[in-house]
Amino acid sequence: MKRIYLDYAATTPTHPEVVQAMLPYFTDDFGNPSSIYSYGQEAKAAIKKARGNVAGLINARDEEIIFTSGGTEADNFALKGVVFANDNKGNHIITTTIEHHAVLETCKFLEKRGSTVTYLPVDSYGMVNPDDVKKAITNKTILISVMHANNEVGTIEPIAEIAKIAREAGVYFHTDAVQTAGHIPVDVNKLGVDLLSMSAHKLHGPKGVGALYVRKGVKITPFIHGGGQENGRRSGTENVPGIVGFGKAAELARASLDVEAGRLILLRDKLIKGLLESIDHTRLNGHPVKRSPNNVNISVDFIEGESMCLNLDFEGICASTGSACSSASLEPSHVLLALGLRHEQAHGSLRFTLGKWTTEEEINQVLEILPKIVTKLRAMSPLYTKHS
């Protein structure tokens, strides 16, 4: 059976050209970039080139890119680094209820250590209101963190507007761009952000590497102490193959970004329209237009998401759900609840995220298969009987 992978927001296959670019740095060019001999210097040059490519993707300067182990570390670094370095100024953070756990859990940790955090609500599309941000700012506010696009429902937040408010108030602004970098235009200057998180494996790079953009002049405490790598801000021998892979992936993403986004929006909208038309009692979650080009998130009434995912998996289709029947808390997705969905709607959510190798044929197959699965599960559901 041919597999149809529609979970690109979870991770992407590493691009073959990226793998090729990485391979020499495991074997022939294995040197430590800190070493003085030529092996080390070749590795150092490779990192420099990669840094240029990653910086180029978001219109940053090379020295503003700090490589990390991934998006989660970049988010941890941004929040903890700014809070630790600016405690003389204040202890208040503003964020939203729909952030990734990498931000939310870090906020909870910081709250235990004396920070105060405002979690802003979102509207039914998952959109943050910039006015809410403005009103939440106090003279103790040191950081605002709002994600660029939500990983579950795809809503693209008004980052430039919020960043402007932050700048006028003299507050640092961080955005988690893990879902957008390499997928839609991300320009740190046009957006006006001070810190921005990225992850390589979401843009056809390898796992285990990401970056934090830190605008020149931002006060931030080093994240890992040691040998002084990454300008003293993130010590530890560099993940040379990973960084090289990230650089190559950034270069490839930048070259194909416009064409690819346009192609995916057509496929995305075809899938959304097809699902909403062919299955009754469904709704689109997230914003219909201000939306990641690759994100489709629907709620199917009367049935549960994991059951749908397992049935899709039987047909070779990989998708995900915001139902958290498998989490210890039994609580469904915090994002869907923040959008105002009822628990059973959140449990009945299904996310498809499209990518570089998604074809129209695959979309057609989902449109053919999912309605049958829904019919099968609804026939089993006591909620559906009560409704019909």
């Binding site: 009367f302 059951s307 995912c309 995900s320 029947c325 498998s326 989490s327 628990h343």
Partner: protein
Amino acid sequence: MSPAYSEKVMEHFRNPRNVGEMENPDGTGHVGNPVCGDIMELYIRVKDNVITDAKFKTFGCGAAIATSSMVTEMVKGKTIDEALKISNSTVAEALGGLPAVKMHCSVLAEEALQSAITDYLNKNSKNK
């Protein structure tokens, strides 16, 4: 998402036994709620103190559907007393085990069965 289900769980999930409603059941159990994401309805037919048939309808995850299917299989042919001894761990064991985070689904299956039997006993005592 994938909680690593046993083959037996997947087999029951893929081909659930005894799905559907029952006309005039002798006992009905209704447990769970939409908040936790699992709702089970279990119906039993009883003759001479023996459960002769069982059916279910379930809103829930893979484990919820598989445990519903398994418990309806297990109770058939059992006396009321025997059926009352079926616990959540008996159902989970019969399925080759459940992931720890899914054990609550087997509890729900046990509760659905107990609830259906209680309903039957209540109806029966009134008829006497």
